[in-house]
Amino acid sequence: MTLANGTIGTTYTITGIQTDDEELNDFLFTLGCYSGEKITIVSMVSESYVVSIRDGRYNIDVNLADAIAVEA
C-alpha cells in the first residue's frame, strides 16, 4: 500500500519510494524518509497530509503520499 491509503494517527514503516525522480528520492532521504524508517500520518488538511518523519512535521500532497510505499 502507499501512504495515500493510510489512516490518520497511524505509524507506518516505509518500504520504498516509487519515483524515477532521483533527486526527489535523495531529498526525501536527507529528511529521513527512506525504506525501513517510520512515518506517521498526523492529520489531513486541504486535501493533503501532515506527516511526521523523525522529529519533523511536513505537509505533503497526495501525489507524494502516493509515491511513498508503506506497510503497517
Binding site: T19, F29, G32, V45, S46, G56, N59, N63
Partner: protein, 666 residues
C-alpha cells in the same frame, strides 16, 4: 577570519546571523527565506575586538544539493575553506539535523554546534545532554536561542577556541565509489544509523512529534480545505485595514504636519529667489517627496504586520492552502513564498523563486511575483483609495487578491503557451511550529524597510520629482511656461502621445500619463508626480483626520470619475514593475525570451484590466461605454488574438511531445 553559518532550513541561521552581527536581514519562520550568501563582521563586544566575519548561507539538509541555493552552501563550505563553521542545529529535530552535522565534520574545518531553539525544547520537556553530545560529535556544543540572542557570547568564545585546532570526525564515510548509487546509499544509511545512536544517548523526549498537539488543532482551521482562503482573506484585510484606515493614517497625520511646517519654513527662507527656483524647491522637491513620505507611516505599519505574520509560522500554512489551486495552473505552493515576500518588495520576492526546482515553474513565478502589491505601490493604493473611495481598507485587500488572481491566470496562460501538460509534481513543505511573533524582530524589520523607503525618497524620488518639475516648467525653447499654457511644456509634449493610448482606459490626460511613466522608475513616483503636476502639496489632511485632504477636491483636480480612478490604479499596479524588479526578473529567468514575454504579459494585463474596469464600470454607472471604446477594443482584441495564436502554437508543441512519446516535462 571567516566563519560560515550552516544548517538545515529554518533552523534559525539568519536570526543567529542578525544576533551576531547586529544586521537586520530578512528572516521568516519557514524554510527557504535566505537564497544567497551574505557576510558581515561580528559585533565587537562579542568578538573581543578581533575581526570575525560571519557568513550566512542558505539552509541545506545535506551536502548533496537539491536546489540551486543549497548548492551555494555546499560549495562554499567545501571550496572556500572558511576558518570555522558554526553549524546551527534545530534542537527540536536532532535526529534529522545531525545528518548534515556529521557531513560537515568530515570537511576538517573546525566547527562549533549551536544548539538552537533550546527554548522550544524546554517547553516540551525534551532534554538534550549537551556535554554528552559534544563528546559524541567531537566538537563543542553551545545552547543558543537566536531569537532572544542568548548564548551568543559563549558561542563566539568557543569559535575563537577551536580555530586552527584539529577536530576528528566521529563518522567517516571512508573510501566509497561515489558514482555507485548503491554504495552512496549504503553509506548514507550507515550515517543515519550513527546519528540514531547519538540521539538515543543524548536525548530524552516526553512529547513525541508524531502525536497530535495544539498545533494540529490550529492547522485544522487555518489550513482547512474551505476555510483556509477566507481566513487568509480576513487576515490580509485586517493588515490593510489597520495600516491604511486606522493606525497608519493616525501617525501619518502627525508626520504630514511636520512636512507642511518644513515646507512653509523653506518657502519663507527662499522668498527672494526666482519664482522658478521657489517652485522647484517647494512644489517640486519638497512637495513631491513630501507627498510620498507622507505615506511612510502606512507602509511602516504594513511592514510591521507582515513581519509578525511571517514570524508566527502562518505563511507556511498559506502555502499549503494555495498549493491545490496553484497546482492546477502548473505552479506549486512553493510559489506562494516568493509572492508573500513580494508583498514587501518585488526584488527579494523574485529572487526567492530560486528555491523552486522546476525551471518553468521558477521562471513563471519570477515573472508573476511582481503582480503582488509591493511597499512602493502602497502609497499609490492609499492615495486612490482615500481620494475616490470611502473606505480605504477594502481597496487594498481587493488589489491584493486581484494580484493573486492575475498570478493564477498568468500561470495558466504560461502553461498553455509553453505547451506544457500539467506534470505530476510533488509538494513537500516543512511545517514550522507556530510561535508568538517577536515584536522586536517585527519592529527592527519595519525600521529597516522604513530606512530604505526614506533613502529612496531622498534620492531617486527626489531627482525624479525635480526633473518632472523642471520639464513641466519649461517648453522646448527653454522658456518658462506661462500659466494656462501648461500643455506646451516639455513634459506635456512627451506625455501627450502616451495619453492618447490611455483614452480607452479613462485617463487620457498627459498629467496622468506622465505619472504612470515615472512609475516605471519607482512606483512611489506615481504619487510624487501627481503631486507635482497637479500642484497638490500634500494628500493627507492634518486637520480633518482624513487620509486624503478634501477627497472630492483631489478627485476634482484630477478630473476623473471613480471608475477611471480604479482603472488608473489597477493599470499602475499590474503593468511591469519598476526597472529594478525587471532586473531581478532578468537574472532569475536567465532567458531573454522569458523576460520579454513576461514584460509583454505585464503590459497586456495592465492595459486589458484597466480597459475592462473603465469601460464596464462606465457602462454600469452611466449606461454608455466610455471614451475611445472602439480603439481600446481593437487593441484588446488584438492582444487576445496574439495570445490565442500562441496557445495554439503551444498546443501543437504539446501534441508533438506526445507523438514522439516524450514526456513534456520541461
Amino acid at each position: 577570519m571567516r566563519i560560515a553559518l550552516a544548517g538545515n532550513p529554518n533552523s534559525g541561521k539568519t536570526t543567529l546571523y542578525n544576533a551576531l552581527t547586529g544586521k537586520n536581514e530578512h528572516a521568516g519562520n519557514w524554510a527557504g527565506v535566505t537564497v544567497d550568501k551574505r557576510e558581515a563582521l561580528i559585533k565587537k563586544n562579542l568578538s573581543s575586538d578581533k575581526e570575525l566575519l560571519a557568513v550566512d548561507l542558505p539552509g541545506a539538509y545535506s551536502m548533496s544539493p537539491f536546489t540551486s541555493e543549497e548548492s551555494i552552501t555546499s560549495s562554499y563550505v567545501k571550496q572556500e575553506k572558511p576558518d570555522a563553521i558554526i553549524n546551527i542545529v534545530d534542537a527540536t529535530n536532532l535526529s534529522r539535523s545531525l545528518f548534515f552535522t556529521t557531513q560537515l565534520l568530515e570537511l576538517g574545518v573546525p566547527m562549533v554546534v549551536a544548539l538552537n531553539k533550546a527554548d522550544i525544547n524546554d517547553k516540551k520537556e525534551t532534554k538534550i545532554d549537551t556535554a554528552k553530545l559534544a563528546e559524541e560529535l567531537g566538537c563543542p556544543v553551545v545552547e543558543t536561542s537566536a531569537i532572544s540572542a542568548k548564548g551568543m557570547d559563549v558561542l563566539v568564545a568557543k569559535v575563537a577556541e577551536v580555530v586552527g585546532k584539529e577536530q576528528f570526525a566521529p563518522f567517516v564515510q571512508g573510501n566509497i565509489d561515489l558514482h555507485s548509487k548503491e554504495a552512496v546509499n549504503t553509506a548514507d544509511r550507515k550515517r543515519f544509523d550513527f546519528v540514531n545512536g547519538i540521539v538515543s544517548k543524548v536525548e530524552t523526549r516526553k512529547v513525541l512529534t508524531s502525536e497530535k498537539n495544539k498545533q494540529d488543532k490550529l492547522d485544522a482551521v487555518l489550513a482547512h480545505k474551505w476555510l483556509g482562503i477566507p481566513i487568509f482573506a480576513v487576515v490580509m484585510w485586517a493588515v490593510f485595514s489597520i495600516s491604511q484606515a486606522h493606525l497608519g493614517p493616525m501617525i501619518a497625520d502627525v508626520l504630514v504636519g511636520w512636512i507642511e511646517g518644513f515646507a512653509e519654513m523653506v518657502a519663507g527662507s527662499v522668498e527672494d529667489a526666482s519664482p522658478f527656483m521657489q517652485s522647484l524647491l517647494v512644489d517640486g522637491i519638497i512637495g513631491g517627496v513630501g507627498a510620498v513620505v507622507g505615506f511612510l507611516p502606512l507602509v511602516m505599519v504594513m511592514y510591521f504586520l507582515i513581519a509578525l505574520l511571517e514570524d508566527c509560522g502562518y505563511m507556511a500554512r498559506v502555502a499549503v492552502v494555495m498549493d491545490r489551486f496553484f497546482k492546477k495552473v502548473g505552479l506549486s505552493g512553493k510559489s506562494i513564498i516568493p509572492m508573500v515576500i513580494g508583498t514587501g518588495c518585488a526584488i527579494p520576492g523574485v529572487m526567492a523563486s530560486r528555491t523552486i526546482r522546476n525551471e518553468r515553474e521558477r521562471r513563471t513565478t519570477a515573472m508573476l511575483t511582481p503582480f503582488m502589491p509591493c511597499g512602493a505601490k502602497l502609497p499609490v493604493i492609499a492615495l486612490f483609495a482615500g481620494a475616490f473611495f470611502s473606505d480605504a481598507s477594502w481597496v487594498g485587500t481587493l488589489m491584493y487578491f486581484a494580484g493573486i488572481l492575475f498570478i493564477i491566470l498568468g500561470a495558466l496562460l504560461t502553461l498553455k503557451i509553453t505547451g506544457t501538460k500539467v506534470r505530476k509534481s510533488f509538494f513537500i513543505m516543512e511545517l514550522p511550529e507556530y510561535k508568538m511573533p517577536s515584536l522586536k524582530v517585527a519592529f527592527l524589520s519595519m525600521m529597516d524597510r522604513a530606512k530604505a523607503f526614506i533613502i529612496k525618497a531622498g534620492t531617486i524620488i527626489l531627482v525624479c520629482n525635480a526633473v518632472v518639475q523642471i520639464m513641466q516648467s519649461f517648453d522646448w525653447s527653454f522658456q518658462l511656461v506661462e500659466e494656462g499654457m501648461e500643455s506646451t511644456s516639455i513634459l506635456a509634449s512627451i506625455a501627450s502621445p502616451f495619453a492618447l493610448l490611455f483614452i480607452p482606459l479613462g485617463f487620457g490626460i498627459w498629467q496622468l500619463a506622465a505619472a504612470a511613466i515615472t512609475g516605471f522608475i519607482a512606483k512611489e513616483n506615481v504619487v510624487g508626480t501627481l503631486a507635482v503636476v497637479f500642484s497638490i502639496t500634500n494628500f493627507i489632511d492634518v486637520e480633518e483626520l482624513e487620509l486624503v485632504a478634501g477627497a472630492t477636491e483631489v478627485a476634482g483636480i484630477m478630473g476623473m470619475t471613480s471608475v477611471a480612478a480604479l482603472a488608473y490604479l489597477m493599470f499602475n499596479l499590474f503593468t511591469p514593475p519598476c526597472f529594478a524588479a525587471i532586473g531581478a526578473m532578468n537574472s532569475e529567468m536567465q532567458s531573454k525570451k522569458w523576460l520579454w514575454g513576461g514584460i509583454a504579459l505585464q503590459f497586456g494585463t495592465g492595459y486589458a484590466v484597466a480597459f475592462l474596469v473603465y469601460q464596464i464600470g462606465t457602462l454600469m454607472t452611466t449606461g454608455t461605454v466610455g471614451d475611445g471604446f472602439i480603439g481600446g477594443l481593437i487593441a484588446v482584441v488584438a492582444m487576445v488574438a496574439i495570445v490565442i495564436g500562441l496557445i495554439a502554437k503551444g498546443e501543437a508543441k504539446a501534441d508533438e511531445y506526445a507523438l514522439n512519446g516524450k514526456v513534456a516535462a520541461k
